[in-house]
């Protein structure tokens, strides 16, 4: 632990933004209302786009501006809008339920996030773009997203969990692979859009069949 080494303003800002993303992930885990969850996802995507802008200006990687704009349009506007529209059509439940109580879920998530922090810091991966803390934080986002997917019992939360997992992965890519060719990043984003459409179709099919968004009754297939 190096208490004396003070990070620069850029590092501090980047870390703070990464922390905000993680906190939003925790909020998603906490919020019971599905609509609120989707909005939190939109905010989280916005914050990730802001991080991209910060990296673009701070480290002089102009491609990232384009990426930030694109990811903002896609993840903070189009995807949440699609899900919210779907939920308006479904209009059955507004609250999801978890397998555990909120407090226990948060405790599990804290443990998982701590695991992410300490393992990633052991890996000794350094990037010249962003501080290593941001990497630990983004891996923590990925793992907490897994907790969200596993603990929640409704299709919207699970889908939002997957999308926010992708936000975590985008952050990892900002940290360690900021120079990745723009064409690949864009392809990843459009792949996400395709996945969203498929998630949407399947959510619709699920709702059409069970008239609910809950996955609690998806227990027919086992063995």
């Amino acid at each position: 632990m190096n208490a004396q080494s003070v990070p620069s303003v850029f590092d501090g800002t980047a870390n703070t933004i990464a922390v905000v993303v993680l906190l939003l992930e925790f909020l998603m885990l906490r919020s019971a209302l599905l609509r609120a969850q989707v909005r939190l996802y939109a905010v989280q995507s916005l914050v990730v786009s802001i991080l991209a802008v910060v990296v673009a200006s701070g480290r002089d990687v102009p491609e990232l501006y384009a990426l930030a704009a694109l990811s903002f349009a896609l993840k903070a506007v189009i995807v949440p809008w699609l899900i919210l529209r779907l939920m308006r059509d479904a209009s059955t439940e507004i609250a999801g339920s978890g397998a555990l109580g909120v407090a226990s879920e948060i405790m599990v998530a804290i443990v998982v996030a701590a695991y992410a922090f300490f393992t990633v810091s052991l890996l000794d991966i350094h990037s010249d773009v962003l501080p290593a803390t941001a990497l630990s934080l983004s891996v923590a986002v990925v793992l907490v997203a897994f907790v969200l997917i596993i603990m929640r019992r409704d299709v919207v939360s699970q889908a939002v969990g997957f999308f926010s997992l992708e936000n975590g992965v985008s952050m990892v890519s900002l940290v360690v692979a900021a120079g990745m060719p723009l064409i690949l990043e864009v392809a990843f984003l459009f792949d996400l859009l395709v996945a969203v459409v498929v998630f949407g179709v399947l959510m619709r099919v699920h709702h059409g069949r069970t008239h609910s968004l809950s996955t609690a009754d998806l227990t027919r297939l086992r063995g």
Partner: protein
């Protein structure tokens, strides 16, 4: 490189996509005919690539094939052609049925048929693109596309089970591919450390510089890739979606999922293996694959022992075979790798056959429960024997291809002084053998109790379009026999080249 081989690549990369687009507008009959023709053309193109890559790499733009890629193009080529022919019969019954019914049902059928053909062509297209993509990033994108297309195909039947299976599949596989994306990013990081930021994850520079890559990120990327893409391969414990999706999908889709999709996903792991092996040495990647392989084989073997659903039985058998493949790679010996690649081909043929025959059986008996199926041999004089032969092939009985490949894997393992894992492999394969045959002996061999004939409609394989559903499995049997008895010289050379690529012994 001849101009003609480049055209073969373009055919595989473009034609199925065009066909999928065409099926959006074509009526049922035209869609069937187009799909069959395109399927056969693609099979011919895939086979045509075999001699082409023996001299070296073929590439145009983002497309690039070497020996390893072609090995994984062949199962898709074969199953695409086989299932498109099979679909003629599979949908033919319903077409005939719908033709007699009212307008609403007819419209429903046409919608189903259109979605089916668009989906299956798009699915085949994405699976052709994955092995041809030049670079780990494009490979990931292609595999993600296979997930979303196949998830829709799994949901196509719109039954309760299909909905559940599709949701589980898309969620679990997408999360797995999220981890796969992490693997891609970490590998990019490793590559960028040596090759600079402009590097785009293409294979050739990556393998060339593999020795200088930093070890920790590559190791991390490999483990993430095994977990991420392993989700789609069906390695235990990420396999939970697989039996559901295989059992609930329409039969032609099940055949493609099992024979082709799993193989293509495994191809992604092999690409990471190829790099990781050079960077961090043989021991680490092989140990990882061995653990996952043994776990898969063990769980699948145990699950096969008490399985009451015909298609789930075959699905668990797929997990078993993917476990064998993973263990085979973990042996690392060229002979074992040769066996692995042959195993991928033979498994595609055998599992495709088994699923197609199972589809006919399920049609005929109107149930997937093994307890209610009796006297298959007697009732389905064509499908019954082929099904039995395919199951025997899946159990690695001689003279079929899977016997040859498993023998090569075990021999390679013992040759590489991996006696203990090889012994475990033999024991677990025997367990799976017992499970598979034990579950199928009664339904296939016993005769029907008298009096049951009346209440089941006689839609045997002698029906009007039954021939379309019998022909592909028969061709598959021939392929299995050829692979088992005397593989063509060019194919053997191809497999040797690909195995050499993986073990680093040849060029």
């Amino acid at each position: 490189m001849h101009a003609s081989t480049g055209i073969l690549l373009l055919v595989l990369a473009v034609l199925p996509a065009l066909c999928a687009l065409a099926c959006l507008v074509l009526p049922h009959r035209a869609a069937v005919a187009t799909t069959v023709v395109v399927g056969l053309v693609c099979l011919a193109a895939a086979v045509g690539l075999v001699p082409a890559v023996l001299d070296g790499v073929v590439s145009i733009g983002f497309l690039r094939v070497d020996a390893l890629s072609v090995v994984f193009l062949l199962p898709t080529g074969f199953l695409y052609a086989a299932t498109s022919v099979f679909a003629v019969g599979y949908l033919g019954d319903e077409a005939a049925h719908a033709a007699q019914a009212d307008v609403a049902e007819q419209r429903l059928f046409h919608r189903y048929s259109r979605l089916f053909f668009v989906g299956i062509n798009a699915f085949a297209w994405s699976m052709f693109c994955a092995p041809m993509a030049d670079g780990l990033a494009l490979l990931w994108i292609a595999i993600e596309v296979t997930t979303v297309v196949s998830a829709l195909l799994v949901a196509l039947d719109n039954t309760e089970g299909a909905t559940e299976a599709a949701w589980k599949y898309v969620l679990i596989a997408s999360c797995g591919l999220g981890i796969g994306l992490l693997a891609t990013i970490v590998m990019y990081y490793a590559g960028a450390q040596t090759m600079g930021q402009s590097y785009d994850l293409a294979f050739e520079p990556l393998v060339r510089h593999a020795e200088q890559l930093p070890a920790t990120p590559v190791r991390l990327a490999f483990v993430l890739a095994v977990v991420g893409f392993g989700t789609k391969v069906g390695l235990v414990p990420m396999h939970t979606w697989l039996p559901d999706a295989h059992a609930e999908a329409p039969t032609p889709v099940s055949a493609l999922l099992s024979g082709s999709l799993l193989a293509v996903s495994f191809y992604a792991i092999l690409r990471y293996y190829e790099v990781a092996r050079i960077t961090v040495g043989d021991a680490f990647p092989q140990r990882v694959l061995l653990v996952f392989g043994v776990a898969s084989l063990l769980l699948a073997g145990l699950s096969l022992l008490h399985q009451g659903d015909l298609k789930r039985l075959l699905a668990y058998s797929s997990i078993e075979h993917m476990g064998i493949v993973a263990i085979g790679v973990s042996f690392g010996a060229p002979l074992a790798l040769l066996g692995v690649l042959l195993h991928v081909l033979a498994h595609a043929a055998a599992k495709g056959n088994a699923f197609m025959c199972a589809g006919v059986i399920v049609r005929s008996y109107q149930t997937k429960q093994l307890g209610s199926i009796r006297g298959v041999l007697e009732r389905l004089p064509w499908t019954g024997p082929v099904f039995l032969a395919s199951v025997l092939a899946l159990c690695a009985m001689p003279p079929f291809g899977l016997f040859r490949s498993e023998f090569a894997i075990v021999a390679g393992g013992i040759g590489a002084a991996r006696t203990a894992p090889a012994a475990i492999l033999v024991v677990l394969v025997t367990l799976a053998f017992l499970g598979l045959l034990g579950a199928l002996v009664r339904p296939v061999l016993t005769t029907r109790p008298a009096g049951q004939e009346a209440d089941v409609p006689a839609t045997g394989d002698g029906a009007r379009l039954g021939g379309w559903m019998v022909l592909p499995p028969l061709v598959g049997m021939v392929v299995l026999l050829v692979l088992g008895l005397h593989p063509p010289a060019e194919l053997s050379q191809l497999l040797r080249g690909a195995a050499g690529q993986l073990s680093g012994t040849v060029s």
